[in-house]
Amino acid sequence: MTYLVLARKWRPNTWDTVIGQDHVTHTLRNAIIHNRLAHAYLFSGPRGVGKTSAARILAKSLNCENAVNSSPCNECSSCIEISEGRNVDVLEIDGASNRGIEEVRNLRENIKYIPAHGKYRIYIIDEVHMLTMQAFNALLKTLEEPPSHALFIFATTEPHKLPATIISRCQRFDFKRIGLDEIVAHLSKICEAEGVAIDAEALQLIARKADGGLRDSQSILDQLISFSDKHITVEQVILGLGLIDQELFFDLGEAILNKDLAKGLNLVESIVSSGYDIDEFLSGMAEHLRNWLLVRSLKSTDLIDASDDQKKRLGEVADKLEEGDLLRLIQIIIDTRMSLKRVENPRLILEIAVVKMIQMEKTVALQDLLNILGGSAPKVRTREAASAPRAAAPAVSTVAPANTVSPAPKVQSTEQKKNQPITLDSVKARWPEVIRQVKHKKVTVGAFLQEGIINAVDVNGIELAFGDNTGFHIDVIKRAAPLIKDVLLDVFGSSISFRCIRKKGLPTADSIPTSKEEKVQQLEKLENEQPIIQKIIETFDTELVD
């Protein structure tokens, strides 16, 4: 006696043993009991969920001599013959091999003969999507009005390939993918019956790998039983299926966080030498990063498919990378997988990808930057407070110096403006802000205002000096005096008047330096005053061009 694989041994043969398709079995049983059978059924759904089995059970229960409660007995001659595929009234046809119009013509010839033993003459056409278009069309008339003793059952994984005219003549049942828990429950039942001990987590792993197909899960279990000694552990599942150890993904994640190149390249070495498929490793890593992203954004681990331990560990590291960074890492992997197809030596590509991922500059979230740049003082403080617990993360450490920026100048000024006497220096210091605000309200006025330099500040207000040929400038500024006064009030906190004078031999205004040296000087000054600017220059690797 040769060995029969689990999937065949455990093929369901009664309605009750069909797993996870209650919506189908229930309906069909009721149809049999109430004698409301259609003459054609279409069973569709993914692989390994019970379509062919259900078709056989239906055939058996219709022709069974002593069916109890619409379920076949599996003992009478009819049932046994159907199981062995030699019943003359139940014809199981392989649609993929008998797909031509000739076969359909034969079928039409034979369908008129009444059944030999049972009540019905049943045609089960499996893989029906492979029939040719002519064959489908030749079947249409028969399918619409078959003899009363005939019943068609079509089974297919690809119902979209059937013509609409076929589908509309059938009662269609969509079989569902089988849930993780149902697979686990079924597998543990099999294990018990087969006398095999198995870890709960190993079962989970198998069920996940099976991806909704019960037969897939049985094939995997079969393979593992034949590999291990009566007790299946998680390690054996990983080894037996050649799965990539999840540990590697966590290691790479750690190397990315710590910018540890040596560790990353060692990892490549061990991946290559242990013979993992590089493409598979990359897709696994993408999946890992996706999980990371989900945990990061949702702050929960409910949506991801992973063991409890992995969920916990992901939860611990989740906040250490920004969402944008995770997306960029995933993008690197996607690009790498694309180029993997074009290259002779995949190891090389993996190494480059790992180096890229590790060397990738971590970004600061936009919101954080905005908070630091333009936000009000309390906002900055909450950001500081929020970031304190994850001070170790690189993403945050990039921000850290920026966090020490004194709350935005504007805020400071509103607090201090009332009691500060107006002096030449204080006006000069805040003049750029005035120009900025004026420009914001009216660009032209701002531009002209920029031309002037502050000549003096006294009790009468600010004296602006303009060079030669600037009569028009002064006119415009005078006309816009109310606007400028508003801005001055806003910036200095008190009403300040101003006047414009013309001054000969004044070539340039000092607020816009033209020579390169002056620009550099001013930039340096700005850098010293405002750490954030220094930070920006460093981060974007900018330099003064002109």
Partner: protein, 366 residues
């Protein structure tokens, strides 16, 4: 040439264990990158099951085993993708070519089959081949013999053929074994996957490859070491590279790299004159693949991991180059070469493609 199964200890122990426990399934799908020994194991398993000696992976000596290796045993059928028969060719001639290539493949399962120059169409497994399987599957063999169908490269099976295999794959008669192999499991119907026990063949460790190249193919140690590191776990790739003139290509590649970084155009133009115009497309492609490996080594030097360099022959030259151009961006370098390879494969004009590549490499050095 080899008479043994190289590496794949995991697979060997899996299958042995299944045999010992009498739990051999009726259908296996072996998948993994090319050159990992899928067909070698399939053949070995067939011989072990049929051979009277019951030696692990066949004795290769007895009449049965030799019949199998000659493709003359009734219980063993080897099916592989075949090109269609040209109209001008006679039936006998066509069948003879097919048989000859099948025998070559069985003799050396680590080497891919090539039907050129006689047959040029794309090889596929057609529905007719599957129909033949279905017919012979029903025939009874004497005694308790196993009947084995070894279907290689099942990804090359046409859609009708794959679908018509499904029924037989699900419930074959007793004592039938179907072994399917593929390097591209993603291209296979989910319904086929689900009916088989899937075994993933991992790439081979470089030590395994090195010893196989040295012992079985008599390649000298240093070259074998280099090949095993370049092969990325695939014996087939290692073998395909074995005959290439790496030293010449390496010199050419380095000259190209140096000319690209010369401020003067003359060396580059000279290089293009002598190489791009005289060399064949295949040579150039090999040279570029090697250039990628060299650039990968440059990156290792840049990062301070000199011990990881693969092209140890050229370490001093590479070190020198890196000292001069320490801001070279290896990732961009490799990417632009990949693109150039792509262009050249699509028949770009060689001197032009190489010249443009040279400029882009230089960009990567800035």
């Amino acid at each position: 040439m080899t008479n043994r199964i190289i590496g794949q200890e995991r697979i060997q122990s899996l299958l042995t264990s299944a045999l010992d426990k009498h739990r051999l399934a009726h259908a296996y799908l072996f998948h993994g990158q090319p050159g990992t020994g899928k067909d070698a194991v399939a053949l070995g398993l067939a011989m072990q099951l049929i051979c009277k000696q019951k030696m692990p992976w066949g004795c290769r000596q007895c009449t049965t085993c030799r019949q199998i290796l000659n493709l003359e045993h009734p219980a063993y059928q080897f099916i592989q993708p075949v090109p269609s028969q040209p109209k001008a060719m006679k039936e006998e001639k066509y069948l003879e070519i097919l048989r000859e290539r099948a025998l070559e493949r069985i003799a050396n399962p680590y080497w891919p089959v090539d039907y050129h120059p006689e047959l040029t169409t794309l090889p596929v497994i057609s529905i007719n081949q599957v129909r033949a399987i279905k017919q012979s599957v029903m025939l009874k063999l004497g005694g308790s013999a196993y009947r084995i169908f070894h279907i290689s490269q099942i990804d090359k099976m046409t859609a009708p053929a794959s679908n018509s295999l499904l029924k037989i794959l699900e419930e074959p008669p007793p004592r039938t074994l179907l072994i399917l192999t593929t390097s591209f499991p993603g291209r296979i119907l989910a319904t086929i996957h689900s009916r088989c026990q899937n075994l993933h063949f991992q790439g081979m460790a470089s030590e395994t490859l090195q010893s196989a190249l040295e012992d079985d193919w008599k390649i000298e140690t240093q070259h074998a070491q280099f090949l095993s590191k370049m092969a990325g776990g695939s014996l087939q790739r290692g073998l395909q590279m074995a005959d290439k003139e790496f030293d010449t290509h390496r010199q050419t590649a380095i000259a190209f790299l140096e000319a690209s970084f010369d401020d003067n155009y003359i060396p580059l133009l000279d290089w293009v004159d002598t190489n791009a115009i005289n060399n064949s497309k295949a040579d150039t492609l090999e040279m570029l693949a090697l250039l990628q490996a060299l650039i990968r080594d440059l990156m290792q030097i840049q990062l301070g991991f000199e011990d990881r360099v693969i092209n140890t022959h050229t370490l001093p030259v590479l070190r020198q180059f890196m000292a001069k151009h320490n801001s070279f961006k290896a990732d961009i370098g490799i990417a632009v070469i990949s693109q150039a390879i792509d262009y050249i494969e699509k028949n770009a004009y060689l001197p032009m493609a190489l010249f443009s590549l040279s400029r882009r490499l230089r960009e990567a050095g800035k």
